[in-house]
Each structure stands twice: as structure tokens, then as C-alpha cells.
């Protein structure tokens, strides 16, 4: 156990260093910050369009929808499509590019030659990608606040309160763990083929896209937070084991 923890510690040190010394995470955080600003400012400039598309009527719609509200659940209007949930697709890009780089550069080859066990790699990669994803979610949140202020949208809360928003944000962050586990599994399947891992991740992510508003509404409660936390942990462990198995059973070069 001590040996595993030591190896995990060094692996985490390396992965965190890599994550935060490569431009990818900053580009992704920048895009996450800019995206809601652009969405909110541009849609407010298009306000009252003739096609009757639903526009943002308050800032919080850029984060999520209210459970039981008009745009919750399965509805696919502009506010449910263009909100924070889009981040999960960008997180797919982050996870896939970050992991594929290990295989493309030959780093994975060096690593797995000296390390027979892959579980610390999977664990570390999951945690580091989760951190990167959480940063993107937070960057989007800040962007939404800035964008809302620039666009002059109201910060009024109807059908939810500040506690709900905080719970929603936590639920969205914990949900990142679920998606990271899925994306990481595809990334280790595809190895250096970044395009394949992104394609698989976005394809499967699109199926799960529908459930995000239900799991993370603006009027989220403690239950939503616990459920997404538990879901994140279960997915991370279960799919982590699958990723570990894939690495143990397939060729690494």
C-alpha cells in the first residue's frame, strides 16, 4: 500500500506538472471563459429575433435550467443547448489530447516499461483531468457572470436560490468525474489516435448530454450533490478498472 501511495504521489506530481506547464489547459480555460461571454453578449444582441428562439432572460440560464421549469429535462431550446453543459464536450478534448500526448511522445512507453502496474497511472490521470475539467467549469462560471454583466442580463433568481446555484455548481463539478472516467477509457483505447478518442468521447457524451440538466438543475439540493459525487466516484472506480484492464491487455506502442 505504501509503495502504491509513493508511486501515486510521484505520478500525480508528474501529471500535475505536465497539465499546468502545457498550453492546452490554459487554452481550454480561456475558451471556457470566453464562450459564455460570447454566447450571452451575442444572443442579447440578437434579442427578440423573429424565429422565436428562446433567448437568455437571466444570467443563470447560462449555467443550467430549473428542474421542472420550461427548459429543463429533455427540451432542446437555445438556453439548454448553449449553457455550461457544453463544457463536458470541451473536457473530452482536454482529456483525450492530454492522454494521447503520453502515447504519441513515447512517454507512456518509458513509463510502462519501468512500471508493471498501471493503476496509479489511471488514478493520477483521472484526478488531474478532473482538476482540469473543474477549472474549466469554474472558468465558464466566471465567464457567465462577466458575460451577463456585459450583456446587462438580470441576476434574478426565480424558482431557485443562491444555495441551489452553489449546489448546482458543485454537482456540475462532481459530474466532471463521471465524464472524465468515460473519456479516459476511450483515450486509453485509442492511445495516440487523438481523433478517435475525441470522436468516441463526444459520441458517447452526446448520449449522456440529455441527463446533465436533470442531474444539475439550478434548484439543485444536497441530494443532487451527493448523487453526482457518488456517481463520479462509482464511474471513476469502475471505468478506472476498465482502463487499467485495457492498458494491461493491449499493446502500449
Amino acid at each position: 500500500m505504501q509503495n502504491f501511495l509513493n508511486k501515486l504521489k510521484t505520478m500525480l506530481k508528474v501529471d500535475f506538472k505536465r497539465m499546468f506547464t502545457m498550453p492546452l489547459v490554459y487554452i481550454m480555460a480561456g475558451v471556457s471563459l470566453a464562450m459564455p461571454i460570447l454566447i450571452l453578449v451575442m444572443t442579447s444582441m440578437m434579442g427578440g429575433s423573429e424565429d422565436g428562439a428562446a433567448m437568455f432572460t437571466n444570467v443563470w440560464q447560462a449555467i443550467s435550467s430549473v428542474s421542472g421549469g420550461e427548459s429543463a429535462g429533455m427540451s432542446m431550446d437555445l438556453t439548454t443547448m448553449c449553457n455550461m453543459n457544453l463544457m463536458y464536450f470541451l473536457i473530452a478534448v482536454l482529456v483525450c489530447v492530454f492522454t494521447a500526448e503520453d502515447f504519441r511522445s513515447g512517454y507512456a512507453k518509458n513509463l510502462f516499461t519501468v512500471r508493471a502496474k498501471k493503476v496509479d497511472y489511471v488514478f493520477s490521470k483521472s484526478l488531474v483531468c478532473f482538476t482540469g475539467g473543474a477549472i474549466m467549469i469554474l472558468a465558464y462560471f466566471i465567464g457567465a457572470m462577466l458575460g451577463g454583466a456585459i450583456a446587462g442580463l438580470p441576476f434574478t433568481t426565480e424558482g431557485f436560490n443562491a444555495g441551489g446555484i452553489i449546489a448546482c455548481l458543485f454537482a456540475k463539478i462532481f459530474l466532471v468525474a463521471v465524464f472524465v472516467a468515460i473519456f479516459l477509457t476511450f483515450a486509453v483505447v485509442a492511445k495516440q489516435r487523438t481523433w478517435l478518442s475525441i470522436l468516441l468521447s463526444i459520441g458517447v457524451g452526446a448520449f449522456m448530454f440529455m441527463m446533465i440538466p436533470m442531474m444539475t438543475p439550478l434548484n439543485a439540493t444536497f441530494i443532487h450533490v451527493v448523487m453526482t459525487l457518488a456517481g463520479g466516484a462509482i464511474f471513476a472506480v469502475a471505468l478506472g478498472a476498465v482502463s487499467n484492464l485495457i492498458l494491461n491487455k493491449t499493446s502500449l506502442v
Binding site: M22, S105, G106, K249
Partner: protein, 300 residues
């Protein structure tokens, strides 16, 4: 105890059989020249030893233990295809990452030491992507040397090296085997260079080991020959063929007689007996390259 012991190793890639019951024995402390044509199974064998691909069958033991054993695997240094560096990182940062992965306590000191060994200490701050091919090969060796490995697996490490780079490589490899009892498996097509350092050889063809020998055994297997040029080459060759069993003409036009004869005896036979003047004559021994080519020809 042998550093590597492989028995009946097989590997299939779909319908293609890359390894067909390969056996290999590498004694501890050896510099093992692993030779074969492209696609003969050298890299596949090396990748299996490193745990990067899984064999279809057979047994691989490293230092008497299964090749999957975590302790044994931590003793391997590897350079297969490329050093495995991040292109946008400096040489130093790449090395430090690998040192961290290996759990080296005094990482900075160790990295500085291996960079000095490969004469790259002055280029540590260079971005890896800006390094020349030769520099990248040296970095790859430095990577492999990190953590004082007991077994070095090097796939084509001298490709792209200049004369000085090759000299450094020779020094490094002979140094690590002498000073650290490190075992080196080195595959290369530059046989002349390999011959200068290898203590053992393994020759692989079609996924099978066709010959394994020590440098002394190779030396004994490589026959000496007399090479000569005469005024009338055709007549001389015909006369020599009547007297000796193995007479050949090489690509430079020399007539070679392999029967362990002495140069004086040949000159005497041609000039005194047949009045054929010899214009040039030398005694030589075939090297690894010719031995290997002959061995490959036999199998065709």
C-alpha cells in the same frame, strides 16, 4: 543467473506471425548484439521484454523472474524507436519528469550525471524539439541510464549518430557494463560498430533465433582468407578453383581463397607452377557483417 531467458516465444499480429518460437539467452553483464533483417522480430522481442506488447505464447524471464514482475521491471532502461520526450519541454524538464517517475531521490544530481555521461550537459536547456537527431539519440541513452538500470534495451541507438556520437556510445555502453554490471541488449544494422562492443550475439530470422554465440565463438567461426589480384584474373581463378575448394570473387574484384592457406603458398602455386603474376595479395578475416550476410544467404 542470466539477465534474459526466453523460451519458445511466439507473437501473432492477426494472421502474421512475428515471432515463431524464439529462444534467447543473455548472460548478466553482456553486451548482446541483437541482429536481424527488418521485420525479423527484433523490435517485437524487445517490446515484449519491456512489457509493451503481450506475447502469444512462450516464457520470458528477467533475472530469473517473470518479466511482469514489478521489481524486475523497475530495473530496465529502454530506448525503443524514440526517447519518449515531450517536444515542447526542455531536455532538462523531460529528464526530471522521468526521474520523478522512477522515484529517484536526488533527481537533479542524477540527471546532471547522466547528461554528462552522454556529453549533453551544455544542451540541457534546449527544447527537445529543437535537438538534432544525434542529440535526441544521446538524450534517449541518458533517459535509459537514469536510475542505474540493471538491463538496458536499446533499439537502433546508433542511428543518426556522428563519429563522435558513436565513440561516446561505445564508451558509455562498455562503461556501464564494466562499472555497474549492467546488461545491454542492443539491436543495430550498423554491424561494424556493433562488432566493436558486443560480447555476445543473437541472430534472428523470420521470428526465430538462428544463431547465438559469444564474440570469441564468432571470431572462431569467421574464417581467414587470402585475397589477391593477378594480371590474368580469369586464368588465376580457374587455376585456384582446381586446387582449392572455396574460391570466390568479391565485389572489389579480389579472388578470395578460404581454405586456411598461406599467402606465400598461393603466390608460389600461381607464379612458380603456372607463371601467373600476382599483383596484390593480403590475408584477411571475415567480419560480423560478412558472417551475417553469409548466414542470411544460407537461409534463402
Amino acid at each position: 543467473m542470466n539477465a534474459i531467458e526466453i523460451r519458445n516465444l511466439t507473437k501473432n499480429f492477426g494472421q502474421k506471425q512475428a515471432l515463431n518460437g524464439l529462444n534467447m539467452t543473455v548472460p548478466q553483464g553482456a553486451i548482446y548484439g541483437f541482429i536481424g533483417e527488418n521485420g525479423s522480430g527484433k523490435s517485437t522481442t524487445e517490446k515484449i521484454i519491456c512489457g509493451l506488447i503481450h506475447p502469444s505464447g512462450g516464457e520470458v524471464k528477467l533475472f530469473g523472474k517473470d518479466y511482469k514482475d514489478a521489481e524486475v521491471r523497475s530495473k530496465i532502461g529502454v530506448l525503443i524507436e524514440s526517447p519518449g520526450c515531450f517536444p515542447n519541454y526542455s531536455v532538462w524538464n523531460n529528464m526530471m519528469l522521468q526521474a520523478a517517475n522512477l522515484g529517484i531521490a536526488n533527481a537533479e544530481e542524477e540527471v546532471r550525471k547522466v547528461l554528462q555521461v552522454v556529453h549533453m550537459e551544455g544542451s540541457a536547456s534546449n527544447k527537445y524539439k529543437n535537438c538534432s537527431l544525434g542529440m535526441k539519440q544521446r538524450i534517449g541513452i541518458a533517459f535509459a541510464l537514469l536510475g542505474n538500470p540493471a538491463l538496458l534495451i536499446l533499439d537502433e541507438p546508433i542511428n543518426g549518430l556522428d563519429a563522435d556520437g558513436m565513440r561516446i556510445m561505445r564508451e558509455v555502453l562498455t562503461g556501464v557494463t564494466k562499472n555497474y554490471n549492467c546488461t545491454v541488449v542492443i539491436s543495430s544494422h550498423i554491424l561494424g560498430e556493433l562488432e566493436k562492443i558486443a560480447t555476445h550475439y543473437g541472430i534472428v530470422r523470420g521470428g526465430k533465433m538462428i544463431a547465438e554465440m559469444t564474440a570469441e565463438e564468432l571470431n572462431a567461426n569467421c574464417p581467414t582468407f587470402v585475397a589477391l589480384k593477378a594480371k590474368d584474373t580469369a586464368t588465376a581463378k580457374a587455376a585456384l578453383e582446381r586446387k582449392y575448394s572455396r574460391v570466390e570473387t568479391d565485389e572489389e574484384g579480389y579472388i578470395r581463397i578460404y581454405d586456411g592457406v598461406k599467402a606465400e603458398e598461393v603466390v608460389s602455386y600461381l607464379y612458380n607452377g603456372l607463371n601467373i603474376a600476382v599483383t596484390e595479395i593480403k590475408t584477411n578475416k571475415i567480419g560480423l557483417e560478412e558472417y551475417y550476410i553469409d548466414l542470411m544467404k544460407e537461409g534463402r
